[in-house]
């Protein structure tokens, strides 16, 4: 087990290395000039050149890459070209809203989606199944920002139940945090619920056809127990997998949702950084999100063995 985890962790190295090279090259080949952004409208070419030199943008690519990797190994993510603040500080500020919203979304989604999927599979080809499937197809079909706007319009503007925008840390005021986080979470959850409910349904449908489910029924076990004790645990591996790979989807949702609801998270930080060509921030963020993605999927792989005793590493 430990050996397996170690092995998987080592396998992460080439993945992250490739991501690092890819992102670095992508950015350096991108037109756009952080110096020009930094200097504003009235700068002259000579001034731009000076700023570029002082930012180290005139060094050869290899030197820049080496510097960056060197910094990374010392745990230094660099300094934002635009804000002149260490990237790690920026990330530190901005990552908590995202993590809190994402965690809440995942919890909410799983709580909603899994029972939905189970019921849909159990009531295969009945109105309940069709209702769940319709919802999940619909969830895939409406752009996230439209869902966000509709929620705002209905719950914040018409009904005035919830705030329109913003974020309060849960440590500061948990009630406020909740009231502000509900709509973004629901918005984000729509597509995630759709995804998980679909996978739960498909996986359950498959499992419900298995012999041991028939055995459980032959024992006279009640349907609820058949579904949740026997079937769901066996159906869990693909569901977990989709939660892991769906994390990528969550990221793209986060980017949009943070814009719609004005949440100071890393999604907006990254998009802003890309649009401003703030290289150290973009590099750090893409590397970080990739690492989180890889890490989450690693955790999920490990979780398989807890759920399914047949899987041992």
């Amino acid at each position: 087990m430990l050996g397996y985890i170690l092995k998987r962790l080592l396998a992460v190295v080439p993945v992250i290395t490739f991501v690092a090279i890819f992102v670095f090259l992508l950015l350096r080949l991108t037109p756009g000039d952080p110096a020009a952004i930094l200097a504003g409208d009235a700068a002259t070419p000579a001034q731009l050149e000076k700023i570029r030199t002082s930012l180290g943008l005139n060094d050869p690519l290899l030197v820049q890459f080496g510097t960056w990797i060197g910094q990374l190994f010392r745990g230094d993510l660099g300094i934002s070209l635009i804000s002149n603040i260490p990237v790690s500080d920026m990330v530190g500020q901005r990552i908590w809203p995202t993590i809190n919203i994402a965690l809440m979304t995942i919890i909410l989604s799983v709580l909603l989606a899994v029972p939905m999927g189970v019921i849909a599979a159990w009531k295969h080809r009945t109105w309940a199944d069709y209702a769940v499937m319709s919802f999940s197809v619909l969830g895939f079909s409406v752009p996230v920002f439209v869902i966000g706007y509709i929620f705002i319009q209905v719950f914040s503007i018409e009904l005035r139940w919830l705030p329109v925008q913003g974020y309060t840390p849960p440590t500061e005021d948990f009630g406020k945090f909740l009231s502000k986080a509900i709509l973004p979470c629901l918005t984000l959850a729509t597509i995630y619920v759709a995804l998980i409910a679909r996978m739960t349904r498909a996986s359950m449908l498959e499992v419900l056809g298995e012999d041991y489910v028939r055995t459980a029924r032959a024992k006279g076990v009640s349907e609820t127990l058949v579904l949740f004790r026997h079937a769901l645990r066996n159906a869990a591996v693909p569901i977990l997998t989709i939660i892991g790979t769906g994390f990528a989807l969550l990221i793209s949702g986060v980017v949009v949702t943070e814009s719609v609801f004005n949440i100071p998270g890393i999604g907006r930080l990254t998009v802003d950084a890309i649009l401003a060509r703030d290289y150290p921030v973009i590099q750090a963020m893409i590397l970080l999100t990739s690492a989180i993605y890889v890490f989450i999927n690693l955790m999920i792989d490990v979780a398989y063995s807890i759920i399914d005793p047949r899987i041992r590493y």
């Binding site: 298995e210 012999d211 055995t215 459980a216 032959a218 006279g220």
Partner: protein, 557 residues
């Protein structure tokens, strides 16, 4: 052969099925799956339901349990009386209440029938949880008790084990424990030993008989295996296409079957008596296939994890002359299929020599191997997966010849001839595999192999998935082809009856090693190795000559 002879006329009727009709859901025009089946089972009686695939025997059992697949099959008429209660009148929760308590079931595949993610102890306990209220301690005691009764070793450990940590036989014992813990009046066993090796099968059959005796349970035993029927049945019912063909006490049925279908079925059962030794000399020249010191080891030292390699085959030696058949028999895990796949070079042998038509092929690379492929061909077990479903039969048949450089027209012409040779119409080449039955597909697979004009044909459990009647035909076909073409056949099987019918020589394998090797008559007739003997003794109904409705005179009891 000692048949059970007890009569049950005085025993109370446990299950009474009256005019049971089952149809495809929402389809009243098609022929019913079960057509007005009626029979009774009395307390302590074992009723065997025999029939080939599609006869409706499993549907009968599922209907009794109320477990017909929803939306696919439904009962459209008749009654299923358990005691005085018509099970068909019960609602879902009443029916649940009956299961395990009044009637219970054991399924075919013990691996898939147990929940892989629950400890087996919990799975047995669940029956108690569902149907009774007992203290935790008593519950565990009862579970351990029933586990003892089904002769599981080290019950405390097994209690905590997951299904995958147990052997197939142990799993089936768990299933039986689960089915009998509440001492139901009726046990339905649906092919409970089909997936097991013969030695295990023998133990499980004995166990069922023992428990039945102890608790006076009525048993509805579903099987396709006449040998099993002969061993355990009190009463036999033969089913065909949803109709009950014949019902009789076991001895009566085996000695003097009344219906044609029953007779046909019995005649197709291969005999355990080895075939006559062939008198004609094999053609001159070296052996068609020669295997020396063949080794195959799996598993390796990982980078971080070190595992001891598994010896799948070790020191395997044999020759097959042209025109002769050599059988490799053994239970699952004996390494017989590994040997076949090594010889086919579908996997790479670890060591040893394989000579086909005089050429050494054990160490050839994939591309070097290609010219030698023509000499050795294979027929697989599963006729539904061994043909590309997207290709017409003709396309499949000419694949090999085209690789050898034949032109398409002549290859196709040859394909038509081959169809005829294997007993299929010529125009079969234009059809797709799904349009054929399992037996027909197996013929096509044989034709495809023959198209290469090989020296050696490897038949890897080639008739195991087929019903006995079809099995019989395919075996005959192989025999004919061998006579016509003079090919050597390597026949891999777990079924001693089949081996006895077709093999000139038999190799017995156990745990990757050859334990006995000799003429079929001597190996099967006078086995020297204890394992071989155990295998033969475990073969059910081995002293009965089914095909001729009488005892086998020669076999010692």
């Amino acid at each position: 052969m000692l048949f059970k002879t007890k009569t049950f006329e005085d025993a109370p009727v446990v299950l009474s099925i009256e005019d049971l009709t089952v149809r495809l859901s929402g389809n009243t025009t098609a022929k019913p799956v079960l057509d007005k089946i009626s029979f009774q089972i009395r307390a302590g009686e074992t009723v065997c339901l025999v029939g080939e695939s599609g006869s409706g025997k499993s549907v009968t059992s599922l209907a009794a349990m109320g477990l017909l697949p929803k939306g696919a099959l439904e009962v459209s008429g008749g009654r299923i009386l358990l005691g005085e209660t018509n099970l068909l009148d019960l609602n879902a929760s009443q029916m649940r209440d009956k299961r395990a308590k009044s009637l219970s079931m054991v399924f075919q595949e013990p691996m898939t029938a147990l929940n892989p993610v629950m400890r087996v102890g919990e799975q047995i306990e669940e029956v108690l949880d569902t149907h009774s209220r007992v203290s935790k301690r008593e519950k565990k005691q009862r579970v351990l008790d029933i586990m003892e009764q089904v002769h599981l070793p080290d019950v405390e450990r097994v209690y905590r084990s997951y299904p995958h940590q147990l052997s197939g036989g142990q799993r089936q014992r768990i299933m039986i424990a689960m089915a009998l813990i509440l001492e139901p009046q009726l046990l339905i066993a649906d092919e409970p030993t089909t997936a097991l090796d013969v030695t295990t099968q023998r133990q499980i059959l004995a166990l069922i008989a023992e428990l039945q005796e102890k608790h006076g349970t009525a048993v509805l035993f579903i099987t396709h295996d006449m040998g099993v029927v002969a061993e355990i049945a009190d009463t036999v019912q033969v089913m065909n296409h949803g109709i009950l063909v014949e019902r009789a006490p076991v001895e009566t049925l085996l000695r003097s079957p009344q219906e044609d279908y029953t007779k046909r079925l019995l005649r197709a059962v291969p005999s355990l008596v080895p075939r006559q030794e062939r008198t004609d000399k094999p053609p001159k020249g070296g052996p068609a296939l020669s295997v020396r010191d063949l080794d195959k080891a799996y598993g390796s030292s990982g980078w971080l994890v070190n595992r001891a390699p598994t010896q799948a085959a070790k020191d395997v030696n044999f020759d097959i002359p042209m025109g002769r058949t050599l059988g490799i028999v053994g239970e699952s895990g004996s390494g017989k299929s590994t040997v076949a796949r090594c010889i086919m070079r579908l996997i790479d042998p670890s060591d040893g020599s394989i000579k086909v038509a005089g050429a050494e092929i054990a160490k050839l690379t994939r591309s070097e191997m290609r010219p030698y492929r023509k000499h050795i061909q294979i027929v697989f077990q599963d006729p539904f997966r061994s043909l590309n479903p997207r290709w017409t039969v003709g396309q499949s048949l000419i694949e090999g010849p085209l690789n050898l450089g034949q032109d398409k027209t002549s290859a196709m012409k040859r394909a038509r001839e081959l169809m005829e040779l294997v007993g299929l119409p010529e125009d079969a080449v234009d059809r797709y595999p799904h349009q054929f039955s399992g037996g027909q597909r197996q013929r096509i697979a044989i034709a495809r192999a023959i198209a290469m004009e090989p020296d050696v044909l490897v038949a890897d459990e080639a008739v195991s998935a087929l019903d006995v009647s079809v099995q019989d035909q395919v075996l005959k076909l192989l025999d004919e082809l061998q006579k016509k073409l003079g090919i050597a056949i390597l026949f891999i099987t777990h079924d001693l009856r089949v081996a006895a019918q077709i093999c000139d020589e038999v190799v017995v394998m156990q745990k990757g090693r050859v334990v006995e090797h000799g003429k079929a008559a001597s190996v099967l007739g006078a086995p020297k190795h204890s394992y071989t003997r155990a295998l033969i003794e475990a073969a059910p109904g081995r002293s009965w000559d089914f095909a001729n409705f009488k005892e086998l005179p020669t076999v010692a009891a």
